[in-house]
């Protein structure tokens, strides 16, 4: 069960910190409602579908489908060596929830709505995030 600030024992942490702790350890885990079975993201103290407090963490498959996309076209400025295109996606995870992320190694023009993707954890210690790679190109 999700930690409660009212329970005795070791100092509890809230759902945000628990999610981030999983990500820091290289895992995408989601809360699952023990009453209605819904998988939940963003992390919460209660189920937004049935309002139960009985939530447990479970590993996600990491598989999902691109629901939509947008691409920021930056105007290049002197000293700014960032790519001029910055694509962001919404992914519908196979478990149900939707998550904002990126396909950092896929050119923006190749990001299609409906494409299958797989999650990975990336980034430096202390700043890890959930990113995605195309799943279809793999056998």
């Amino acid at each position: 069960m999700t930690a409660s600030p009212d329970r005795p024992g070791p100092p509890p942490t809230g759902p945000d910190q628990q999610f981030q702790a999983h990500v820091a350890d290289g895992r995408l885990w989601l809360q699952t409602c023990q009453d209605c079975g819904s998988a939940i993201f963003m992390p919460r103290i209660l189920c937004p579908h049935c309002h139960s407090l009985s939530l447990q963490w479970a590993p996600a498959s990491g598989l999902g489908t691109v629901y939509t996309r947008s691409v920021l076209h930056r105007r290049p400025k002197p000293g700014d060596d960032r790519p001029t295109e910055h694509a962001i996606i919404l992914v519908d995870l196979d478990e149900g929830p939707r998550i904002m992320s990126r396909l950092p190694d896929t050119p923006a023009a190749d990001i299609r709505i409906g494409m299958r993707v797989r999650a990975r954890i990336a980034g430096e210690d202390g700043a890890r995030v959930v990113l995605f790679d195309p799943e279809e190109s793999k056998t």
């Binding site: 945000d16 993201f41 963003m42 629901y67 939509t68 996309r69 947008s70 691409v71 920021l72 076209h73 105007r75 910055h86 962001i88 919404l90 939707r98 998550i99 904002m100 992320s101 990126r102 923006a108 709505i113 409906g114 700043a127 995030v129």
Partner: protein, 383 residues
């Protein structure tokens, strides 16, 4: 019980100030000028105001700062902030407060100077935790995502989106107060700089300075004032999410519910609406709201706006002031839907006047398709 607010209040004064650029002035300055203009329009004064409805993005406590600046001491204060939709929702809250006797003269107001101040759209300080690491550009990213999904799901095209921008510009050319009045062609829109794919610069609203104010009273008093009253016939609000990533379906907004609630209260439907004022922060918004408010089936908004159908001379007048796309957009636009609706119902909209306008639907959108508010206004004949 759903009809208890119908006709409970009327807009009796409207005013604007600082539209376009107001260099050297701050938000509270031009807001005060708009308030003065609205009260003068009604034949009332600041001393008459005993109800205040206010939201903005520049002040943490907008209503309280407004009270202090204006030197008023209202007995009813509503600072509900749902984004740019706030003021359309305030019209319903004001009708409720007037009917309950919590106030006798309700003032709804807004002002901002982002264009000459910060020089950019200043987004809310707090943004969704799990979106920020991916560096979205608020609010544009959210609307680009909705547009991309609508295009993929229903075959909506960039030409469809451009039709909305062209209609707005054609209306703006009939409005001497509009910020952008130059000629605009389909080719201009399609070839303008891609900002947030699939939205180009011309799919995005203006960023101007500007302030607006609306004064409401009960009908008995309204009839004795200077202007022809614009009666509140029905209203509704709806919201399910803050973050775009939490929105259940990016092609269907909560306007479906806010609109249904407003129609039910007014006892009217889409076919009864003579004029629409839809918050057009981006071209896709108008397509989404035309669908969700029942003017065409879901997915057919692109075809609906084609061929100048919502432009001057078309079948359905939408955003007759030129909208946020070409008239003015000082960060939050909702109050300008009420102001233009009132002018249309009075018959004082000049070259852009819709003959015999008896009903106007105003629709406000807040944050990133996060909150929707609908208000239906009508002439005395519609009561």
């Amino acid at each position: 019980m759903s009809n208890t607010l119908k006709g409970a209040a009327a807009i009796v004064g409207v005013g604007t100030a600082g539209l376009g650029e107001a260099p050297g002035f701050n938000a509270m300055d031009i807001q005060a000028l708009a308030v003065r203009a609205a009260l003068e329009d009604a034949g009332l004064s600041l001393a008459d105001v005993d109800g205040l409805f206010c939201a903005n993005m520049s002040h943490t406590f907008p209503a309280i700062s407004t009270i202090e600046y204006l030197g008023i001491a209202p007995r009813w204060i509503d600072g509900t902030n749902t984004g740019g939709s706030s003021f359309v929702a305030h019209a319903m809250s004001a009708a409720m407060a007037l009917q309950a006797g919590l106030c006798d003269v309700a003032l709804i107001c807004y002002g901002a100077t982002m264009r000459t101040g910060a020089g950019r759209m200043v987004p809310a300080a707090e943004q969704p935790t799990y979106e920020i690491p991916h560096q979205p550009r608020y609010p544009m990213t959210a609307y680009a995502m909705a547009a991309a999904r609508h295009m993929a799901q229903f075959g909506t095209t960039r030409e469809h989106l451009a039709e909305v921008a062209l209609a707005a510009r054609a209306w703006a050319q009939l409005n001497p107060d509009a910020f952008e009045r130059g000629d605009l062609t389909m080719e201009d829109v399609l070839s303008s700089r891609m900002v947030l794919e699939p939205l180009t610069l011309r799919d995005c609203c203006l960023l101007t300075d500007g302030a607006g104010a609306v004064v409401m009273t009960r009908p008995d008093r309204a009839r004795d004032l200077a202007q022809k009253p614009a009666y509140f016939l029905g209203g509704g609000v709806a919201s399910y999410n803050r973050a775009i990533s939490e929105m259940p379906d990016l092609t269907t907004t909560a306007a479906k519910d806010s609109g249904a609630r407003a129609y039910a209260m007014a006892g009217l439907g889409p076919a009864d609406m003579n004029v629409l004022q839809l918050y057009d922060a981006f071209t896709i918004n108008v397509i989404l709201f035309l669908e969700d408010l029942g003017f065409c089936p879901k997915g057919e908004g692109g075809a609906f706006v084609s061929g100048g159908h919502i432009a001057p001379g078309g079948g359905l007048p939408v955003n007759t002031n030129g909208g946020g796309l070409s008239f003015t957009h000082p960060g939050m636009y909702g109050i300008f839907t009420l102001i233009e609706a009132t002018r249309q119902l009075r018959g004082e909209a000049g070259a852009r006047q819709i003959p015999d306008a008896e009903t106007v639907l105003c629709h406000g959108n807040g944050i990133t398709l996060s909150h929707q508010a609908t208000a239906i206004l009508g002439s005395e004949n519609t009561l």
